[in-house]
Symmetry: C2
Subunit: 193 residues, 2 copies
Amino acid sequence: MMSNMHTSRPAWRNVLDAHLDRHSHLPSSRFVQVATVRQDGRPANRTMTFRFFFEEDCLLFTADARTEKMAELSRSPWAELCWYFTETRTQVRLLGTMRPARPQDESTLRARSRTWAERSDESRQSFTWPPAGDPLAPPPAFSAPAPSVPPENFSVLLFSPERVEALDLGSQPHARELHSLSDGVWMATRINP
Amino acid sequence: MMSNMHTSRPAWRNVLDAHLDRHSHLPSSRFVQVATVRQDGRPANRTMTFRFFFEEDCLLFTADARTEKMAELSRSPWAELCWYFTETRTQVRLLGTMRPARPQDESTLRARSRTWAERSDESRQSFTWPPAGDPLAPPPAFSAPAPSVPPENFSVLLFSPERVEALDLGSQPHARELHSLSDGVWMATRINP
């Protein structure tokens, strides 16, 4: 049993950083599957792009405010992220809450500008498209130019984990480590793989 | 709007086959993230290995009967699979039910034997390990030899989709196709990406 106070960078963050660093040559290593719960209680799962860390312990994502996942998250903010890192053969699961960033917060505004600036014109343009999931609109609906400033429907989401599990499949037996947040303190323990 | 009777291979199956074929040189393309709902209503997400198709429209997986996911699936069989295919830049989401295969069924027994035969000794050995998620057991608990026949806790799961969505991110605008099962008939339609 190891523990560390929740004052500085949590231990799971170092674990995740190490895997992301090892896979930085693979753009797809920034893609992670995000599970939520649908209004009817069934699970939903889709790929999202991890943008960057916000403060020491939040992961920043973006989404179109008009999408299903935003409606799901407004009903229940709980999400589980599941990464599989191909080269280190390690799975990292993060259970926590995914909430819209507070728009009035100064550091949030900076992060919003940064993630807008860092994306491609193609990505910026997608926020002008008609609502995802509706019957396919005719081609002109997809021809607006990319906006220069983030539009209203460009949402910044902060994912704050409460439970992080790393499963290393590269060793035999496999190794599994669980980090859990309890009363503001992260505890890490080794569990059966 | 396209439709096809649910008598032969459904159209989504051809879509998924094509992406799997294109990625057959990448062992990790058989790994897919599987979302379920936890007992407390929060989502869960983990990587599973897709073994092979069972009949025309089921995907076969295996699991240790003692794992959390098996408990979750026994409470609610709904799962959403999310694949991201790196080379074709396509996401395929499949919403459906994941249920234990009927043990008395002849074709199920053949599939069970096949998936046991096709796995590595390391994978077979893992079914002898102490329960996943418990506090780490001492090393001798992980040293039993691989069983030659499938043990009691080796479970075969059949995933039967009712809704399949393919999102192609390789084109601009992106393209999204939805296949849904209604009264035994698969319908496919193009929707906004």
